[in-house]
Symmetry: C2
Subunit: 219 residues, 2 copies
């Protein structure tokens, strides 16, 4: 198919598709003339994958590029492929908070109690430590046990997610694995926010109808 057809089928402007071609995110089509090329279903799938990761998953293009390369790198184990996702966003300069040692001990105890095998340099572990330390410093501690019920649910969610993967015997669909991991994170955050909206509305009353100051009685 022509590039105009790719555009029609994905809703992406031709200029965006040409940009992805220039940037190497989309492999070139088969040349059919001086300024024309032929594209196939693989290009269509790739474009939809890029769009899902950027527009719905809110990842930037350099992250998407890294993910696409990791999907195609068959020497990368599945655990390492997920490891790439789990390290976003790159935490170049983690904050130096007081109380990190105590928070680390608490997080490690939680992980131990759950019986989870977690690598010592897992980004998620550091991030959880930072949250616990920051909340404490602000006098907003919620205690490490706050996370225990969620951890159990997270285990079930992940098991259900992995059951959706094509079996190893048929060759795991690595692109599907990545897009699910990225998009489910967006979805779970959305569900959590909806739960909060419902709870807060019920307990403290609804949101203001209009921005404060905008409304006033007529006359």
């Amino acid at each position: 198919m022509r590039i105009s057809c790719l555009s029609r089928q994905t809703g992406l402007p031709v200029a965006t598709i040409k940009f992805y071609l220039r940037e190497g995110l989309l492999p070139p089509g088969t040349p059919t003339g001086r300024n024309q090329a032929d594209y196939d279903e693989g290009h269509l799938r790739r474009l939809r994958l890029i769009r899902a990761l950027t527009n719905v998953g809110k990842l930037d293009l350099s992250t998407v590029r890294q993910l696409l390369a990791s999907i195609e790198d068959d020497e990368l184990s599945l655990a390492s492929l997920y490891g790439v996702i789990h390290s976003f966003p790159d935490d170049a300069a983690p904050p130096k908070l007081n109380g990190l040692a105590d928070a680390t001990a608490d997080v490690d105890k939680l992980i131990d109690d759950l019986g989870w095998s977690i690598s010592p340099d897992a980004a998620g572990r550091d991030r959880l430590v930072q949250v616990v330390a920051a909340l404490r410093q602000l006098g907003c501690d919620c205690g490490i046990q706050f996370f225990a019920p969620y951890a159990t649910t997270a285990e079930q969610l992940v098991a259900a997610e992995m059951d959706l993967l094509r079996p190893e015997s048929e060759g795991i669909d690595r692109a599907a694995a990545v897009v699910r991991a990225v998009l489910l994170e967006v979805a779970l955050t959305a569900v959590h926010r909806l739960a909060r909206e419902h709870y807060v509305t019920n307990r403290f009353g609804p949101a203001d109808d209009e921005p404060p100051g905008a409304g006033s009685a007529p006359g």
Copy 2:
């Protein structure tokens, strides 16, 4: 206290604190001389709040500015204050995906079944619809029921979070409400990723020791 003391106590460089002062994120201190001012515990708390929201919560400064203004705006109801958080990041141009109508019907049914009161323009609802539609289009559908067990846990998490708030009779600590909502999201994502790391390691084997291609047998 002097600005150097603020810096020592927060670990933030003096230049960063001066930048927050210029930007109006930190209110000015009480002038004590030509180039000196006195700062108090309120400034210290505010700096720690800004640091938690930016460094741990990964929010950009314009978002933090909007949050700080919303915390201080007592005419803004608590539901609207949470509404500000729930709308991040601003979805200026949501993707035009196929199958949005079906996905919307599924998400609305989930919300109905849960008995949740959700405003029709809730950003979380739109985002969940986008994820469901995008996964379907990519052939990675997980079914709307996938989210039901998590929704129940999310309700419990939110109830526990709200129980940590100072009671209304004593005046709800709006800064604590905001910082908890923002940081708990980071923490829950981290726990979810740790659960995935554990599960994937157990089922598919550990991550590669070194980047592929980097290791080779000597000799």
